[in-house]
């Protein structure tokens, strides 16, 4: 079914109300990967209720404002890539490329903040093996950062697409953006679960 769909799909100027942004296949990934993440979250939440004090104590060592800042940085990069898609659709590739750079820039900023946070925690003696809360903390943040690193490769593909007229297809641009947004919303949930949930 999908193969037939792909043959028809390099759409650019179809009726927008009938178009799956980025194509169906990337949405399969978004939904499947969020199901996997949800299963991790469920395991975390369940164990959290079983050892509430340990998790609360662990949580008290996090800096909430830093988490909020990271969230805003990643949301901004997501916003930039959404603008990038719109510019590309309108044929304004210069603007599109500028927004792609902004996306990557905010992505790098997020990564730097994250690494700084890890270093701070590890120096304070909170490591992957130090307590149950930090097991989950490092697991979820690291697996998310691996998604982010893959995201940089995806942005590379996006850049490569935008920088040559012959290669450009709106579908690929949207696929890349969809991946990046999914990295963003995984973080939104991870942030709420690690920093805010009580």
């Amino acid at each position: 079914m999908t193969t037939t769909e792909r043959a028809v799909s390099p759409v650019s100027e179809e009726n927008p109300s009938e178009r799956v942004p980025g194509g169906r296949d990337i949405w399969f990934f978004v939904l499947f990967e969020s199901a996997i993440f949800t299963s991790y979250f469920c395991v975390y939440l369940f164990n959290r209720t079983q050892h509430e004090q340990v998790f609360l104590l662990g949580q008290s060592h996090l800096l909430l404002w830093l988490g909020v800042l990271e969230t805003i940085v990643l949301l901004t990069s997501s916003w930039a890539v959404a603008r990038c898609v719109q510019h590309a659709r309108a044929g304004r590739y210069d603007g599109s490329k500028r927004d792609a750079l902004l996306t990557a820039g905010f992505g790098v900023l997020f990564l730097l903040l994250k690494v700084g946070e890890w270093v701070r925690l590890i120096h304070a003696g909170h490591t992957f093996t130090s307590s149950e809360f930090f097991q989950y903390f490092f697991f979820l943040t690291v697996i998310h950062c691996i998604h982010l690193l893959i995201g940089f490769v995806v942005l590379g593909v996006l850049w490569y697409q935008l920088s040559d007229q012959k290669r450009r297809t709106q579908q690929t641009v949207e696929t890349c953006a969809t991946y990046w947004h999914s990295v963003d919303f995984f973080w939104v949930v991870i942030f709420a679960l690690l920093y805010v949930v009580r």
Partner: protein, 97 residues
């Protein structure tokens, strides 16, 4: 029209940032003398806010708003499913503990 959709993205971003900032205040309400305390209300609100943000990201940033109905429905059900799973496990865990 292009400016309109750009403004729409900006508004979506503003709302997302605002919800993120609300977390600071939520957190404040469940901290007693600098030590976090357990709170079901905070947990439920935090999860719901996160999933609302997920839905906004999907609708506005990922352009599900203009996608076929199947995808619109599917993503909504998916977010709903995540909410049921997370809150279900949380309350089940509470009941067991």
């Amino acid at each position: 029209m292009e400016d309109g959709s750009n403004r729409r993205l900006f508004v979506a971003w503003l709302i997302l940032v605002a919800i993120s900032l609300v977390y600071l205040w939520i957190d404040h309400s469940a901290t007693h003398r600098g030590i976090p305390t357990a709170s079901t209300v905070v947990t439920v609100v935090a999860i719901c806010f996160a999933l609302i943000k997920v839905r906004i990201i999907m609708r506005e940033f990922m352009e599900v708003r203009g996608a076929p109905q199947v995808l619109r429905r599917l993503t909504d059900y998916w977010v709903l499913l995540m909410a049921i799973a997370l809150l279900g496990v949380y309350f089940a865990g509470k009941a067991v503990a």
